[in-house]
Structure formats: structure tokens, C-alpha cells
Symmetry: C2
Subunit: 144 residues, 2 copies
Amino acid sequence: MEQRLSLISLGVTDLARARDFYAALGWTGQEVQETVFLQAGGIGVVLWSRDKLAADCGLPDAGPGGFGGIALAHNVRSRPEVEEVLAAAAAAGARVTRPAAETFYGGYAGVFCDPDGHAWEVAHNPGFPLAADGSITIPDLGQA
Amino acid sequence: MEQRLSLISLGVTDLARARDFYAALGWTGQEVQETVFLQAGGIGVVLWSRDKLAADCGLPDAGPGGFGGIALAHNVRSRPEVEEVLAAAAAAGARVTRPAAETFYGGYAGVFCDPDGHAWEVAHNPGFPLAADGSITIPDLGQA
């Protein structure tokens, strides 16, 4: 299995609400057959019915409400940008579950949950370089 | 908020088990402070304690077991590669929750869950071009 990830599908209970939320954050996509496809760098983010996504994965679904076990991160280039993105998310209807604050790794970050409860950390991490195209490179972390 | 995703953190209950699972699939990473960082194209995949990840997101966690509401996809270049990756995942300890089969969109795909229940679809989708570097481009889907 090559070391690569192609798509991230976010299960949603109300496609229009989810689409409008990401649109309010300035994301544009294509809506086709009750699915929204958003290009995000070299991967795709997909908004699709949570019920159908669970069934498509061959998994039972107890429904939304709790922590799903995955967190997404959107890294930015400055501390003020962390505040700006969290404010934009809140204005778009997100719940800020962790306000922006200093992090143990010398960065600055906060977390919002989208209307379906998917957690997004918004982070300025000076140790993780962000290229002009937005791609991130994990640095040499100095492991033994 | 720029249309970009930087990191995907997978909550795990046994870091060594999760690390060994991805290592068995041929993925290499850096383990630092009870965290494993894996470069995947222009993003990073992070393995970290599910408890800590939930707390870090400011979210209560009912624990693993159900569908988390997110599915990841690993797209490949051929149908035989779908079978190969699913077999490799099963050999590494994954549960195949949907065997490889034709899909409604003219592709061929199956789904496995990693030891923490995170769903990965392995797909050959001729309509979603995969570049030499593994990045994916969502094509013009002909929306109105």
C-alpha cells in the first residue's frame, strides 16, 4: 500500500447545511448526486450522507453525537490567521470546542466542530513548514 | 479559510499496534513523544492516543466501536491493486468490511478497517485521475 491518502469523506446528516457551512468558509466544490466534492490540494474532501457512507463502508452507525476518533487540521501561516479562521467558522455556524491558545509544541491553535461534529484544529505550527501551495512537510523530528 | 487540509489525526487505543499495522503495509514514519507522524503526499497522517486526541479537541469520547463518521480512501491505479492492498491489509490485521467489487460509478473497490476501526476504502476509479506523485484531481463532474 503506497503511503498516500486520496479522499476524506465526511458523513453529514444534512447535505445542504454541510455544503453551506463550507461555502461560508469560502470553499467551492461540485455537487453531484447528493454528494459534494471539494478539491483540497492533492486530495479530495467529500460530503456525503452519513447513513450511506456507513453502509458503503459495511459498518453499522450509532449516529452522530460523539467523537468520531479522527481530527482534521488546517494549518495556517500566522497566529492572527488562527483567530480569523476560528471566527469565520463560528460565524458560519461551527462550535468552537477549544479556543485559540498557545500549544505545548510552541504553536498557537484552536478547534472547531463543523455542523456534523467533525473536529478541525486550526493551527499555526512554526515547526511544520507550509509551502506556497499549502502542502505541509513533516520535518525531521529528531527521533532516535 | 483556504481550501486546504494539513493533517489527519487517527485516534488509537494502542500506539504500538497502530504503528505496526501501518508499518506492515509499508508505511514509514517518525515516532516522537507517543505520536507517530507519517508523510502522505502534501499532508500528514498522525497516530495518537484516542483519549488525548478527544481531550485535545475539547470533546467527550464515548470510546471506539462504532462508525466515526469519516472514511478515508486510498485510490490505486488498477483493479488487481485493489485486491492486493485489501489482502495486505487483512494480512496486517485489518478487518475487511466490504470485499472488493464493482462500484456504481464504474470503478472497483473494497473497504477495510484498521485496528482502531478507521475505515479505508481502497478504490480503482478510472474517473478520478491519479498523478504520478499519487495526488488526485477531482475531474469536472458535469454539474449544472
